[in-house]
């Protein structure tokens, strides 16, 4: 990212319910479990990770989005790999 981009990024209003498209690869924290399935909550949108291994909560993982419903801001993604830890 260029120096100018560093300063100009973020001068906008960001939705609390971000959308994703099928095939998107994103690195996010796994934020909790719902009904035994790991969940990555991004803002107030949620991605379910039905095939992810256990013990990923508060780990930063790379995901590939497999589906996303813009109406209820809920989707599914497959786990690719763990890429980082919590800052705390």
């Amino acid at each position: 990212m260029s120096l100018l981009d560093k300063y100009t990024k973020g001068w906008s209003f960001r939705t609390n319910k971000p959308s994703f498209s099928e095939g998107d690869e994103i690195a996010v924290f796994v934020t909790g479990m719902e009904d035994g399935t790991p969940i990555a909550r991004i803002g107030d949108s949620k991605l379910r990770l039905p095939d992810a291994p256990a013990g990923l909560v508060d780990k930063r993982v790379l995901l590939r989005v497999t589906s996303f419903d813009d109406n209820n801001h809920l989707g599914e993604a497959e786990y690719v790999e763990t890429v980082g830890e919590s800052a705390f």
């Binding site: 990212m1 120096l3 560093k6 300063y7 990024k9 973020g10 001068w11 906008s12 209003f13 960001r14 939705t15 609390n16 971000p18 994103i26 690195a27 996010v28 924290f29 934020t31 909790g32 990555a40 909550r41 991004i42 803002g43 107030d44 909560v57 508060d58 930063r60 980082g84 830890e85 919590s86 800052a87 705390f88």
Partner: protein, 520 residues
């Protein structure tokens, strides 16, 4: 060592030290897990009594409070006290503590070196040359104090330098004292918040796993928005609030004016430029120190002995032989010692370094005792239930902790883990988390009447009547009087509250990654 190795080591360290919050409590306390918060709670009460009630801004006094708190806390630990004792060590060796120590030592040396090189005198020259009148003086003071604080990274140092000189000089011109003090504190807030060499900037970045250059660049938008509004505020208030009529007494500004000091704007830009370009903060500040040293010597702004000096006994033969060196001076046998800006710049932070190590130890006891987890669960289940509410919780949580722990860096270290965990549970980007954390910490540390930033300025102002015959007690500004006039601080808090409510500037972890965190 490759950056990959660094990164791996950093991750291992994080998992070894910080991730314990999700495991079972490892220290049990009589009275339950909430008693693990006793050391920090006791310290907060001590800080309120010392700074808030008795108005004593003595950092070593807070160190004594925290030491007593750690001893008393141990009395409530069940079973062997070995675990409790080991947890103190574990906390003190955490990366965030080391980061604050490094930031203070390096930034302290740099700040002192550009100050002995007459940077403040250069700013005084700029104010004097511009021929600024009473009504514009507070607004100009805000800009110049912000410039100094951005260069030296310490708002406390800026407050002391400006209340010593600009404050009485402004009153002589006819500016309103309350507004002037508010403008100085506002400048301190600006620098503490934005400077890459600021301790709060560095701690905010490292606790949120983000690089300093990226953090500074991403918070620029909030800082500039708030500064423009504050600047207009000082212009408007300056035109309507009257000062005292003491004109013609003396011209303090002209006496202390030296344009060459402005050369250190370049020293400042070297640090900011290298930090934002992604260099390690130690490297960035070291470059600034080298450039400042060269400027001081080459342009005669300060001598080598102003920066580093061995004051050796004059009756010692070897000392007499070595006195030809520019960093050896002969003194009475009773006044020997090492001195200079490198020495005093680092030394000035020693009490704060010890205090922060002890506070991190207290925080680690709360983590191992289950208190941290209990508060985190309560916040996530009852308060921070949506991303907007989570961000508002971060703003108010930071404000609350700053109200209680009056040294703003210490407050930031105490609340940092909560901001990290709350934010991560909504995948809020590390830059955004660091910005929320630091803006409120920087702002409120100069607003609350009992905060360290206000008290260091008040201590200087209190002595001015003894220093100047014309300076009356009516011109002394009490900490409570200035609260409303720290415009930049208030606007910054409001900007972040609005940003949390509207999503302005919000970024998620999926939007962009922090660059090479191991560089700090």
């Amino acid at each position: 060592m490759s950056s990959e190795d660094d990164s791996e080591e950093f991750s291992e360290e994080l998992s070894a030290t910080g991730a314990a919050s999700s495991g079972p409590p490892e220290i049990s306390f009589y009275g339950g897990k909430w008693m693990s918060a006793f050391p920090l709670a006791f310290f907060v009460v001590w800080a309120i009594v010392q700074s808030g009630v008795l108005r004593i801004g003595d950092t070593t006094g807070l160190v004594a409070g925290m030491l007593i708190a750690l001893i008393l806390g141990m009395l409530f630990a069940k079973g062997s006290w070995k675990n409790y004792a080991n947890t103190i060590f574990e906390g003190m060796t955490r990366r965030v503590a080391a980061t604050a120590v490094v930031a203070w030592l390096w930034a302290g040396m740099f700040a002192e070196t550009i100050q002995v090189g007459g940077f403040v005198d250069g700013l005084v020259w700029a104010a004097d040359a511009a021929g600024i009148g009473a009504s514009v003086f507070p607004a100009a003071t805000f800009i110049l104090a912000a410039l100094l604080a951005t260069g030296i990274g310490t708002g406390y140092g800026t407050t002391v330098a400006f209340t010593t000189l600009f404050f009485p000089a402004g009153i002589l011109i006819g500016a309103n004292p309350v507004l002037l003090f508010g403008a100085i504190l506002s400048g301190a807030v600006f620098g503490d918040n934005l400077a890459p060499v600021s301790d709060t900037t560095i701690v905010s970045a490292v606790t949120q796993d983000s690089d300093i250059g990226g953090v500074v660049a991403s918070r620029f938008k909030y800082a500039v928005l708030a500064a423009v509004i504050a600047f207009v505020g000082y212009l408007v208030a300056g035109a309507s609030m009257q000062g005292f009529d003491v004109a013609g007494q003396e011209d303090l500004l002209a006496a202390a004016s030296e344009p060459a000091g402005l050369l250190h704007l370049l020293s400042m830009l070297v640090v900011i430029g290298t930090a934002v370009a992604g260099r390690h903060i130690i490297e960035a500040i070291s470059w600034g120190i080298i450039v400042a040293f060269i400027f001081n010597v080459v342009f005669g702004l300060a001598s080598v002995s102003d920066m580093v000096v061995f004051n050796a006994p004059e009756n010692l033969d070897i000392a007499q032989s070595l006195a030809v060196l520019p960093f050896v001076e002969l003194v009475d046998a009773g006044s020997t010692g090492v001195g200079g800006s490198f020495y005093s710049g680092a030394q000035g932070f020693f009490p704060l370094i010890v205090l922060v190590l002890l506070i991190v130890a207290g925080a680690q006891i709360m983590i191992r005792g289950g208190g941290f987890q209990a508060i985190q669960d309560w916040l996530l289940e009852s308060v921070a239930t949506t991303v907007r509410r989570a961000e508002i919780t971060m703003v108010f949580g930071t404000a609350l902790v700053n109200a209680m722990i009056t040294i703003n860096t210490a407050a930031e270290i105490a609340i940092g883990p909560y901001i990290a965990r709350l934010g991560e549970r909504f995948n809020i980007n590390g830059y955004r988390r660091a910005n929320i954390l630091d803006a409120n910490t920087a702002a409120l540390g100069y607003i609350f009447p009992w905060s360290g930033g206000v008290l260091v300025g008040f201590a200087v102002i209190q002595d001015l009547p003894e220093q100047y015959d014309w300076f009356t007690q009516a011109m002394v500004v009490n900490p409570a009087d200035v609260v409303l006039y720290v415009f930049h601080g208030w606007v910054l808090v409001i900007v972040f509250l609005l940003a949390a409510l509207t999503g302005f500037g919000l970024e998620y972890t999926s939007d962009r990654e922090s660059e090479e965190v191991e560089r700090l």
